[in-house]
Assembly symmetry: C2
Homo-oligomer: 492 residues x 2
C-alpha cells in the first residue's frame, strides 16, 4: 500500500539520521559470531516473508549497496535479544521487532529498508502456570492459540481472543494491546498483564515478571511498553491473568429493523445478562450480503429469513449453564426475528458469520478500505450513513459496510470498490476523520498505529500528548533504532 | 513518625538543590495576585491540618526564615492549577498535590517543609455521565462516596470502594491507584480509567479526557500518571468505568480450622460462585480477638461460636438474586461453622467486622506496625507465622495479626506492642523484607510508597526499573518540584 511512500520516506529521513552504514554482509558476519546458528534465518523466501505483512500491503524498499538485510534474527533467549540490541544500539542499526506478523497497520515489517527484523518465534515456552490464582507466565513468542489450549486444559482461558489467534504471538498482542471479542467481558489485555519482561533499546533487560494482582510500588513501567508497538522496547516475556473457563456458552442472533433497536437491545442484554454477557457483536445488511455473495461455501444461507437492516449476536457464558440460559431466555422474550444456538456446532456456525466478514472482504478482490474506530456506540450508524452518502456521491459501484464490537464502542467501517479509487478513499476519509475529530473518537480502537496511521495521530491526541510521547521515545530510544517511523509521525 | 528523619532529610537535600528561596509571605503575595481569594486558604489551624496526615504520623518540619508556607492553595479549575504550576516551575517552588489526605504512607503532606500544598477539594464537579456505556467523567476533587451516590442513583457503581470513601478524592485514588474490596470483581482502578486530565510540572495541560473503552493510538500516558503519587503531574480530571450495580448482595462468613482450609474454601468459592464472587476477605483469630477487646461497643459478640483460627467472608453479587443465592448455597454446602446474612442489616454487620479491624488497631493505643504486602495467597500464613515467631522471641507483650483481601493476594500484616519497641520493629521488618525478596512479593500492594517506603523500593523493583523511573521523573519534572522525596529513594 505504501511501498512508494516508503521509498519517499526513506529518502526523506536519510538526511535526518542516515541509513545504517553497515552492509547486510557485515551485519550477518557479526551476528553469526555473536549468536547460535539457529538464531539466523537466511533462507531468501523465508526472509522475504518476514519483511512483508501477511496482506502484502506493507514492505520496506530494497536498498542498493547491500543495505537491506538478507537475514532475519530469531533469538532463543532474552540474553540473545539483549546482545542483539546492545550491538544495534552501538552501531545504530534499526530493528523491527516482530511477532506473528498479523497486524493490519504495517507495524511489524520494515519501512525504510535497512531494518533488521527481530522475530520472537523461537521464544515460545510457557514458563509457569499458577493454577490457584490463574496466571500464565510465558515467553513473548508463544502463539495465542497455544496459550489458550494450555490454559483451557487447566480450566482457564486467555483473556483475549482474535481472528489471528493461530498465528499471532502474545508478545505482539502485548506490544499492540490487542483487542478482540473477549474484551467486553474481561477488559483490555493491558489490564490483564501482571508481569512483563522487556529489553530496552540499549540492551538493558527490564525484569518486571511478577505475578501479583496488586503492586503499587512506583511507576507502572509495564504499561509504557504495552501498546508501544515495539518502539520503546522489545517485549520478551509476560505474566497474564487467565480467568476461569465458563462451563458453557450460549449464543443468540437477532435480526433488528433499526439502529435504535440495536441500541435498546444491547441495553436489554446488559441488564438481563449482567455479568454473564460475554460478547456483543453486530453487523449490518450490506455486510451479510457481501459475505453471502463472496463466500457461499462458508455461509450458504441466511441465518434468519429475510434481509434485515441489522444483526446482533449476543453470547452468554458463566459458571452455571442453567442460570445462564434462564437469563438468556428472559432477554430473548419478545423478539420476533432471532435464532438461539442449541449446541456447540450451532454456536460455531453463528460465530462464523461474524468471523468471516473480514475474511470475505479479503477474498473478494477489488479494493477494501478498512477502518477501526472507537466512538460511543450510539453514533455508529450516523457515522456510517454519512460516509455511505458521501461515497455514493462519487462512485456507483462502491459500497460501505459496518460491523464490530458494539459492546465496546468499536466499529469496523469498511469501504469497497472494484478497483482503487482515490475519490472513494478521499470521500471516506474526509467524512470519517471530521466525525472523529468532532466526537473525540479514536482512529484506532484496537489495530494500533504502525505506519498506516502515524500521520493521523493528531486526530486522537493533543499536541501536548504527542510532544510527551516524543520525549518518552527519545528518552528510551535516543538513537531511534526501535521500529523507526512507526507510531509517532515523523517531523519535517 | 518520621518528623525527625524529615528534619535530617531536609538538611541533607539542601545542598543538592536548595530549599525554596521565596518566603511564605512572598509566595502568598504572588498567589493572591494570580488567583481568586477562594483559592487561598490562610486559616492557621486549617493550614496545619493540611500539612499533616490524618494519623498524625507524617508532617514536614517548620523551617525558619518564613520558608514554610502559611497557606494552602485550593484552585477551582484546571487553568488555575496550570497557572500555579507554571509559577512554581519558574521559581522552583516545591508542591505537594493533595486529595483527601487519607493515605497511609505520607505521600500527601510536606516532607521538606518548604512545599506548597495544592489541595484539589474545590474541583469537585461531575462533568458528565454516560448512562448507556456506564462512564462517569468528573474533576479530581470529587469525593469517592459522592461519586458512588451519583452513580448508584443511576443504576451503576464505582469500580472501587475503600474505608476512606467518605473523605478520599478520586484524584488521590488515581494518583495512588487505590485498591480496596471491589478489586477482586472489577479489577484495579488503573484498568477502569478511560480518560484523564493532568497538569505537568511546567503547567502543560495534558487533556486525555476521552471516554472510549478501546483506544490504541500511541503510548498510554494516562497509565504513567496513575499510581505516580503526584510526582509526575497533578491529576485534575478523569473518566472512569462504572459497572452496572448488582441487584442484590449476599454475604456468608465461615470459620475455618486451618489455613489450608482457607485456601481450599477460596478455590471452592471461585468455582461455585464464578462471575458473581464479589469479595473474598479473611482475618485470623488474633485480629478478631483484638477487635472484640478494643471495640466491644461495635462488635459485641463473636459472629460464630468459639474461637477459630481463621475467618473467611465471601460475598456474591450479581444480576439475579435467586441465581446468586443458589450458587452461594451450593458453595456453603458441607461447612460446619458459618453464618449467612439474611438481610442488608446482617450483611452490614458481617462487613463491619472486617471494616473495623484497622479502625480498632488505631483506637487501641500502644504502637501499631502496619504492612500491606502482596504475595501469592498460599504464602500468607507462612509469612505471618515466621514474623510471629520472631516477634515473640523479642517481646512478650507484642502480637501479630493478619487480615486482608485474600482473593487478590493482598495481606495486611500488623504488629502491635504496648509502646514503640525497636526490637519488635526490627524483628518484624527483617522477616518481612527477607520473605518478600525471596518470593518477589510487593512491599506495597495498595497503599503506595509515599515517603514511608521510598527506601524499600529496591525490594520490589530491579535496579534497571528504578533507573528508568528516575529518568522518567527527570524528564517530566526536571526541577523536582512535584512531591519531592516521595516514591523514588533519594540518591546519596
Amino acid at each position: 500500500m505504501w511501498s512508494t511512500a516508503a521509498r519517499c520516506s526513506a529518502v526523506r529521513t536519510a538526511p535526518r539520521r542516515g541509513l545504517a552504514t553497515l552492509t547486510s554482509s557485515e551485519l550477518e558476519k557479526d551476528f553469526a559470531a555473536m549468536l547460535p546458528e539457529a538464531a539466523l534465518q537466511r533462507d531468501p523466501s523465508t526472509v522475504e516473508g518476514h519483511r512483508m505483512d501477511w496482506l502484502k500491503q506493507f514492505e520496506g524498499p530494497v536498498l542498493d549497496n547491500d543495505r537491506t538485510p538478507k537475514f532475519v534474527l530469531r533469538p532463543g533467549s532474552t540474553e540473545e535479544v539483549s546482545e542483539i540490541l546492545k550491538y544495534c544500539h552501538k552501531h545504530e542499526v534499526p530493528v523491527v521487532p516482530q511477532g506473528g506478523n498479523t497486524g493490519l497497520v504495517g507495524g511489524s515489517v520494515p519501512k525504510r529498508g535497512d531494518e533488521v527484523v527481530l522475530n520472537l518465534a523461537r521464544m515460545n515456552k510457557v514458563l509457569d502456570f499458577d493454577d490457584v490464582g490463574g496466571v500464565i507466565s510465558c515467553q513473548a513468542g508463544c502463539i495465542l492459540a497455544d496459550l489458550e489450549s494450555y490454559a483451557s486444559a487447566r480450566g482457564y482461558l486467555m483473556p483475549l481472543d482474535l481472528g489471528a489467534s493461530g498465528s499471532c504471538q502474545i508478545g505482539g498482542n502485548l506490544a499492540t494491546n490487542a483487542g478482540g471479542i473477549r474484551l467486553v467481558r474481561y477488559g483490555s489485555l493491558r489490564s490483564n498483564v501482571l508481569g512483563l519482561e522487556a529489553v530496552l533499546a540499549d540492551g538493558t533487560v527490564l525484569d518486571m515478571m511478577n505475578t501479583l494482582r496488586k503492586d503499587n510500588t512506583g511507576y507502572d513501567l509495564k504499561q509504557l511498553l504495552v501498546g508501544s508497538e515495539g518502539t520503546l522496547g522489545v517485549i520478551t516475556g509476560a505474566a497474564i491473568i487467565t480467568p476461569p473457563k465458563p462451563v458453557a456458552r450460549q449464543v443468540a442472533l437477532l435480526a433488528l429493523d433499526s439502529f435504535d433497536e440495536v441500541l435498546s437491545t444491547l441495553q436489554k442484554a446488559r441488564s438481563c445478562l449482567g455479568e454473564v454477557l460475554s460478547a456483543a457483536e453486530f453487523w449490518d445488511s450490506p455486510s451479510l450480503n457481501m459475505l453471502l455473495d463472496t463466500m457461499p461455501e462458508v455461509v450458504s444461507s441466511r441465518p434468519i429469513e429475510g434481509d434485515h437492516p441489522f444483526y446482533l449476536l449476543i453470547e452468554a457464558a458463566g459458571s452455571d449453564a442453567e442460570h445462564d440460559m434462564a437469563k438468556l431466555e428472559r432477554f430473548l422474550d419478545g423478539f420476533e426475528h432471532g435464532v438461539l444456538a442449541m449446541d456447540e456446532s450451532q454456536v460455531a456456525s453463528l460465530w462464523s458469520i461474524r468471523e468471516n466478514l473480514p475474511v470475505a472482504l479479503q477474498h473478494r478482490g477489488g479494493r477494501t478500505y478498512k477502518y477501526d474506530v472507537s466512538i460511543p456506540s450510539s453514533l455508529f450508524d450516523e457515522l456510517t450513513n454519512l460516509i455511505r452518502k458521501r461515497v455514493a456521491s462519487v462512485s456507483e459501484d462502491a459500497f460501505v459496510m459496518q460491523y464490530g464490537h458494539i459492546g465496546d464502542g468499536n466499529v469496523h467501517v469498511n469501504g469497497w470498490s472494484p478497483a482503487f479509487d482515490q475519490d472513494v478513499l478521499d470521500a471516506l476519509e474526509d467524512e470519517l476523520y471530521a466525525f472523529l475529530t468532532k466526537h473525540r473518537g479514536s482512529i484506532s480502537a484496537e489495530h494500533g498505529i504502525g505506519v498506516l496511521k502515524a500521520k493521523k495521530m493528531h486526530i486522537s491526541n493533543t499536541e501536548s500528548s504527542l510532544a510527551l510521547m516524543r520525549s518518552i521515545k527519545n528518552l528510551l530510544d535516543p538513537k531511534n533504532i526501535l521500529n523507526p517511523g512507526k507510531v509517532l509521525p515523523e517531523q519535517a
